[in-house]
Assembly symmetry: C2
Homo-oligomer: 239 residues x 2
DNA sequence: GGCGGCATTTGACCTATGTCATCAAATGCG
DNA sequence: CGCATTTGATGACATAGGTCAAATGCCGCC
């Protein structure tokens, strides 16, 4: 990851922000960045807080600075499904949206950088690289969604839970090849959120975690902290 | 749907093609269309034929002229999941793809209009509306994928089958509101394909169809022809 | 340090859906 | 025209995962 060197004209707030080097701001030049920075607003949400509602008109887009956001769809009778997770540097919001019919909630303490809708759309007009960056992001989201469709449609509970743990492991260490490696992290989701992501019940998630622990594929401390001694074993269990 | 009037300079092959008025060609002006038409190639595939392979490098993109294509993902052990369906006027292919890890097969007799990759990418460079059209298409695909994640993750077999039948009904008649309406069509998928789309076994699909027939929500002739006397009842069953 | 409230785990039980086997109907082929 | 092949329907049975209830562990708070 080549880090863009700090620059005199760069807005102070952006200097240490990873979105600058790894997120949307990466494709902006200094003057564009300055313009953007003049209109962005930073917000913080605690775990569980709703960030965008199901019905709310979209008046701002957002970039995740830190923390994790879950995108959810809810059926009338209350059943819900997490349809996407957003991590640091990810962009949130549907361009040209009529309605997204989708809500966004923080699953952990989250820091966002909000971009007014009008500005974002104006910049997209003018900035071809920005538009292209967004296209790539969207395609990545589509790939992820389809990958997850396989998990939801065809994998067993054991495979789903392993797939999820592996997914997070990949986020912590994107270089996980098929080599043995060790990863350790705090789960960004509660059991309930995991269940909603995996299309399972809380109890099944819990039982599968217990089973993974019994097999010593993972070690869990304090409910949330996961240690994976051998990511390859986990990956095999993920189907 | 405003149909673009035929034009003297318009390539002859495109005159009667619905992609011209409803698909990608809609955002092209006459000269661009002419250029494109000089390099496209029409192909035909029978039901079951593989159109793009899992591993094949993408050398062409395609537009569906008629028929239906299923996009599939396959796990090592052979389990498979349909992750998308492409109907007439839909565009197939992942721009900027490293690999899509996804195969495309005809589920019915299919007619495609192939566009060489290099040309498509060149046109995207020059043609802003084209790029934007593709972005919208991609977002639509993403919405569809997420909608389907809810179906796969949270709906019962009965709801899934109803959802599928309703999905096709919507394709036949996009104006289906919440009013009572009648729709009739031929299923574009075999029971096996439906099962792979719905994350169910063939038998379960078959049984659910039988149940829908028993409830007189649908009438089936010759295995494939479906008549839906009241789409609203079907929608309610779809969850 | 004890208490109340959550999140999680565990257990017992039940049901929806998968699996396997058979049958029936439709389709293609000589 | 009849046989073989494919596709779909149905029945019997097995089981993964859901549901409901209870136990446990953890945390902040008084």
């Amino acid at each position: 990851m080549p880090t863009i060197p700090p620059h005199e004209d760069e807005p102070r707030t952006c200097r240490l922000c990873s979105v600058r080097s790894n997120g949307i701001c990466r494709v902006l030049d200094t003057s564009q960045l300055a313009r953007l920075a003049r209109h962005t607003r930073s917000t913080r949400h605690e775990a569980g807080a709703e960030v965008f509602g199901d019905e709310t008109d979209i008046t701002t887009y957002a970039n995740v600075v830190s923390g994790v956001i879950k995108l959810m769809k809810v059926l009338e009778d209350g059943r819900q499904q997490v349809v996407g997770l957003k991590f640091a540097n990810d962009f949130i919001g549907r361009i040209h949206a009529a309605s997204n019919a989708l809500s966004a909630e923080a699953t952990s303490e989250v820091e966002l950088c909000l971009v007014p809708r009008a500005l974002m759309e104006a910049m997209l007009e003018e900035n071809r690289p920005l538009e292209r960056w967004l296209m790539k992001e969207t395609l990545r989201e589509l790939d992820e969604a389809r990958e997850w469709m396989v998990t939801l449609g065809r994998k067993s509970a054991a495979e789903r839970v392993a797939s999820f743990l592996y997914l997070i492991a990949l986020h912590v260490n994107p270089e996980l090849g098929s080599d043995t490696a060790t990863v350790e992290y705090d789960l960004p989701l509660t059991r309930s959120d995991m269940a909603d992501f995996l299309g399972l019940s809380i109890e099944t998630v819990s039982r599968q975690l217990t089973e993974l622990r019994r097999l010593e594929i993972i070690v869990i401390h304090n409910k949330r902290h996961v240690h994976i001694p051998d990511t390859e074993r986990l990956r095999q269990r993920a189907g």
